[in-house]
């Protein structure tokens, strides 16, 4: 079974992203593209990804493309490889074959350095206060105007009233919000969110959706593994096919 699903590159309203057939004329470079002067249209392209994990091939020839300004929601049954895909795109997991490109970003940085990754863990320390937790991430990720951004992030996720409490006192949902608030303390064009709505109530989910919309409105790119329709303004779903009968031997082991 082939699992090559080419997600459309063009998401409407941005005809500028379409390159004329045959490419740009040699002496007429992209400035003719009406969008060329718009800064940093980022684009994440994965082609023919094959990824092994724990002795199985989880992704087998997967391709996708996403452009800044949209949120790509990854759906699919358990074991379809949503987490694997996110971690591969972030550069944590090496692919067996296939390519991942991030265009329009900072060429000197890796994809991971231009991305926020929110996994199942929140990266929250129980013995630091809510404010200290965020301030640490702001300083560690080397943000400018850290104090101000921390304030905005806390307000956005409704944690400003709790900011002097140690995170140990927070409920699971509040901890998740604190984990998500990290998204706002440092600007990074790419967001990789793995089940971001885990333990969130409806109101908090809305706060997250607003943050995602604001990020995409600014040209950012969000990839989120989630089943909830977040009510996003600019979202597209990408359905990862079921893993059945995709339990297969890894490429590495099949060669033995």
């Amino acid at each position: 079974m082939h699992r090559k699903t080419e997600a459309g590159v063009n998401i409407g309203r941005r005809p500028c992203a379409v390159v004329p057939p045959g490419g740009w004329p040699r002496r007429l470079p992209p400035p003719f593209n009406p969008c060329f002067h718009e800064p940093a249209i980022v684009k994440l392209v994965a082609e023919n990804l094959v990824v092994d994990r724990g002795g199985r091939t989880i992704l087998d020839g997967l391709s996708l493309a996403a452009i800044g300004g949209e949120a790509l929601l990854l759906t699919g049954p358990n074991g379809a490889g949503k987490t694997t895909l996110l971690r591969t795109l972030a550069g944590f997991l090496p692919q067996v074959s296939g390519t991942i490109r991030f265009e329009g970003g900072d060429a000197d940085k890796t994809i991971a350095e231009q991305a926020h990754v929110v996994g199942h863990g929140n990266g929250v320390k129980a013995n630091l206060t809510v404010h200290e937790n965020l301030l640490f991430w702001a300083a560690f990720l080397e943000t400018e105007a850290a104090a101000e951004r921390v304030r905005t992030a806390l307000t956005h996720f409704g944690l400003d009233a709790l900011d002097h409490y140690p995170a140990a006192y927070l409920s699971a949902g509040q901890k998740r919000r604190l984990g998500l608030a990290r998204l706002l303390v440092a600007h990074r064009p790419l967001w990789f969110l793995d089940e971001p709505t885990m333990s969130l109530d409806t109101a908090s989910t809305t706060r997250l959706a607003v943050a995602i919309d604001a990020h995409t409105a600014g040209g950012g790119l969000v990839l989120a593994a989630t089943h909830l329709p977040l009510g996003l303004a600019r979202a597209r779903t990408f359905d990862l096919p079921s893993a059945l009968p995709g339990f297969r031997t890894t490429a590495a082991e099949a060669r033995l």
Binding site: H2, R3, V50, A254
Partner: protein, 64 residues
């Protein structure tokens, strides 16, 4: 003088050689046993019609 007359410390010499023989024989028998076990498992799987390479035909990109 017999070649097996090894003087006052014969016990130590014999013990050393016996230890080496035991360990090496143990290793070799384990290797042979393990090899037979894997071959048997492989044969069993093949007899049941499981093919060596993944039954899914997509081999794209797996050979660098």
């Amino acid at each position: 003088m017999s070649i097996f007359d090894l003087g006052p410390h014969a016990t130590f010499i014999w013990l050393s050689y016996i230890a080496v023989v035991i360990v090496i024989t143990g290793l070799i028998s384990w290797l042979i046993f393990d090899g037979q076990r894997q071959r048997a498992a492989l044969k069993d799987l093949e007899d049941r019609g499981v093919r060596r390479r993944s039954s899914v035909s997509s081999d794209t990109g797996q050979n660098q």
